[in-house]
């Protein structure tokens, strides 16, 4: 059987060269890190906090529709910034080099139901280390959505679109339960005691956040209790839908789960880099879009260098793309509507039995397109 690397014409020597090039690129960026990056993330944190303060304050005037709407908008902005450009990236250790406890991956906690520690385990470790390996990377489908023809079909999968909608609305809770991972416990692959601890931590964290959003702040606004509660709930849903869209666009459009455990055993760093690039997809957009998506719109660069401050991905993207072209590795990028369209297409397609790809799925456009299709099919 040919491996994915062989199908791309990549020998061990070629992968070693790829490793050297990418390590050099990484070293160049790391050498540039400094006050500019710290100022940037602190400015965003300030914007996030002020928008939260502003949002909470305007809900005290929530009986006036413009203030209610402004409150929802400001709180949504605050939560999106917190989860994406600030939380996700700080928790990746992107700012650990600053030695600032407020920017430390071990000390940061975010405005999301999933406790930072639990998320770090399954996301930073399992997802980023075992990206794209069947059975090991659990981020694909989140255990509830069938997103690949490789996965066996059952009648339960008919609910795919419904599950996706539910997950989008409750995404932060979805992430929390994803860490608990009942599926693996049921399959006997994870001890219940471990899952129980995750569940306990998750419920405590999400309980505190729910108390804050649905009891405490509504109570502060007195007679506006219900109006504030509704605004808080809506802001959480807006954040959930937005992060669902961005995160599903990060891996789904390209077709995933391509590597077997055997071919990744004792793999070289070069092969690891190769695997990261294959499973990820970028989204094009303006500066504000990239900030709001936590620069996960540069998913390929993020997967290569998950611990480099995300604002630097834009800077290295042209070089990564050029390297991909030279090595014949697909570089999947497209505008949001196209990428998310392909995600929706897959969610509907794989609700039904069968392995064929939906028509609208965009295949990588690179010189070596044909072998990629062979492997994926």
């Amino acid at each position: 059987m040919t491996t994915v690397a062989q199908a791309h014409g990549l020998t061990a020597e070629r992968l070693a060269e790829l490793e050297v090039e990418l390590e050099r690129l990484r070293a160049d960026v790391v050498a540039q890190l400094g006050a500019e990056d710290v100022d940037y993330i602190r400015r965003l944190i300030r914007i996030q906090r002020w928008s939260e303060v502003g949002g909470r304050a305007s809900l005290f005037l929530g009986f006036l529709p413009p203030f209610w709407l402004a409150g929802v908008a400001a709180l949504s902005l605050s939560k999106i910034l917190d989860n994406m450009e600030i939380g996700h990236n700080v928790l990746h250790g992107q700012y650990d080099w600053t030695n600032d406890p407020a920017l430390s991956s071990t000390e940061f906690e975010w405005d999301s139901s999933c406790p930072a520690k639990g998320w770090q385990h399954y996301h930073n470790y399992l997802h980023h280390t075992f990206t794209n390996i069947t059975e090991k990377d659990r981020d694909l489908g989140y255990g509830v959505i069938r997103i690949s023809g490789e996965a066996p079909w059952s009648a339960v999968n008919l609910g795919n679109p419904l599950y996706a909608l539910g997950l989008a609305l409750m995404f932060d809770h979805g992430i929390m339960f994803h860490d608990v991972d009942i599926g693996h416990v049921r399959a006997g692959k994870k001890p219940w005691a471990e899952a129980k601890q995750s569940l306990k931590n998750g419920l405590r964290k999400s309980g505190t956040l729910a108390f804050r959003d649905y009891v405490m702040w509504p109570a502060f606004t007195g007679p506006l209790f219900l109006s504030t509660l509704a605004a808080d709930a809506l802001a959480n849903v807006v954040r959930n839908i937005w992060s669902f869209i961005i995160i599903f666009c990060g891996h789904f459009p390209s077709g995933a789960l391509e590597f077997t455990e055997e071919e990744c055993e004792d793999e070289s760093k070069g092969h690891w880099y190769f695997r990261q690039m294959l499973g990820s997809a970028n989204i094009t957009g303006g500066p504000l879009f990239h900030i709001m998506s936590g620069n996960l719109s540069y998913q390929i660069e993020h997967h290569l260098f998950p611990d480099i401050p995300a604002r630097r991905y834009q800077q290295i993207a042209p070089q990564v793309r050029e390297i991909c072209q030279r090595y014949g590795i697909p570089y999947n990028t497209g505008r949001l509507s196209r990428q998310f369209g392909s995600v929706i297409g897959k969610i509907f397609r794989y609700a039904l039995p069968g392995r064929t790809k939906p028509k609208e799925t965009i295949m990588p456009r690179t010189p070596l397109q044909a072998p990629t299709e062979l492997v994926a099919a």
Binding site: D39, R49, H92, D96, W97, N99, S104, D111
Partner: protein, 372 residues
């Protein structure tokens, strides 16, 4: 102070503390501090921070800072130090400095004197760029090198170079307390112009009974009261009867070694107190595996075997969080409390105290301590 005032103040503090806790829930998950600091950067409900209120450059290589710490500062005993944190090009750096003012001061201010060392990136930065109005991070006062609570019959304070700082605080405190028993202040500087607190020391010797100041300028023979380095002869002439003194010595290791041997020889080792001012050896030889690894939080120490700290921690029976074991996931990030480590991927050296390291790819270079 009337006791009523004290109890009403402590009640106010308690109520404030409870209010802070309520707001902490409202401000979950960040806590109230993260909002208050938007408008008052030096305020914090738990961290010690201080505002720079005065900057003086008294010698060519030194800067004296007067700081106003926030309410989390709990005072200090003469001789103690604090860990000062500043940011240099976005990276927070932490170094230890002794308070130099009298511990009896009630004006809420502390003073630190920093000497710029040619190899010291942090001290040079402090020397060049500290300005009035800046906010710095501190810790509460630390250290057991402190002036005795009761007045000793004979106090001997010996210092070399920037080691003058803790004993300066001891002398100032002693004078402020109105102690009158003899104290000898023996200081070694390179040259007269390098000597910190030169004028003030002369003034203290003049105006306070029992204070004797003896200066030695090691690069300027003939300019001081004595020549050369610490010896029995120096002690005999500077502090007759030194064999009965309570001695406090701070300075380079050669000075402290000399003091240890002098006091050891007369069987008075337990009356000698020393404080090392260690320059972190960033230049430590890479590949050096001799040394011990201390897991501070677990109080375990073991000789280093030259493997990454994660491996060594596991070998010591600890089970630190870890993930990818290749430096990408940051699950194993820990604080390096002291010492130097080498990154096995890049070969870069990182020196403590208080920096984040990924223990899966960090090999100790010499003695290290990590928060594990």
């Amino acid at each position: 102070m009337p006791s009523g005032a004290v109890s009403s103040r402590s009640r106010a503090r308690r109520i404030l503390g409870q209010a802070v806790r309520v707001f902490d829930v409202a401000a979950t998950p960040y806590g109230i501090d993260r909002y208050v600091e938007l408008v008052r950067p030096s305020w914090s409900s738990s961290e010690v921070r201080a505002k720079v209120v005065q900057v003086r450059r008294t010698t060519r290589r030194s800067v004296t800072l007067t700081l106003r710490p926030n309410g989390n500062w709990t005072g200090f005993r003469a001789g103690q130090h604090t860990q000062l944190s500043v940011e240099i090009n976005g990276v927070r750096q932490t170094r230890c400095y002794s308070m130099t003012n009298a511990a009896t001061d009630r004006n809420g201010l502390i003073e630190l004197s920093i000497t710029a060392h040619p190899e010291g990136r942090v001290s040079q930065h402090l020397h060049q760029s500290m300005q009035k109005g800046q906010t710095v991070g501190l810790t509460t006062a630390q250290g057991a090198f402190t002036l005795p609570l009761g007045e000793p019959d004979h106090l001997l304070l010996v210092s070399g170079g920037s080691g003058i700082t803790p004993v300066m605080s001891m002398l100032r405190t002693r004078c402020a307390l109105g102690w009158e028993k003899p104290v000898t202040f023996l200081h070694y500087a390179l040259t007269e112009s390098d000597m910190l607190y030169r004028d003030e020391l002369s003034e203290l010797a003049r105006s306070h009974p029992g204070v004797r100041v003896v200066r030695v300028f090691t690069d300027q023979p003939g300019a001081g009261d004595l020549d050369g380095f610490l010896s029995a002869h120096h002690l005999d002439s500077a502090a007759p009867g030194w064999a009965d003194a309570e001695a406090f010595v701070c300075g380079p290791s050669s000075l402290m070694d000399a003091a240890r041997s002098l006091f050891g020889r007369i069987g008075r080792g337990d009356h000698l107190h020393t404080e090392a001012f260690t320059l972190t050896q960033v230049t430590a030889e890479a590949g050096l595996i001799d040394g011990t690894v201390r897991f501070g939080a677990s109080e375990i120490g073991r000789p280093s075997d030259g493997t990454p700290l994660l491996i060594q921690a596991e070998a010591a029976g600890l089970t630190p969080l870890s993930g990818c074991r290749m430096g990408i996931c940051h699950t194993c990030t820990r604080r390096l409390c002291a010492g130097v480590v080498r990154d096995v991927v890049t070969g870069d050296l990182t020196a403590g105290p208080d920096v984040n390291i990924r223990i899966c790819i960090s090999v100790p270079v010499g003695d290290v301590e990590i928060d594990l």
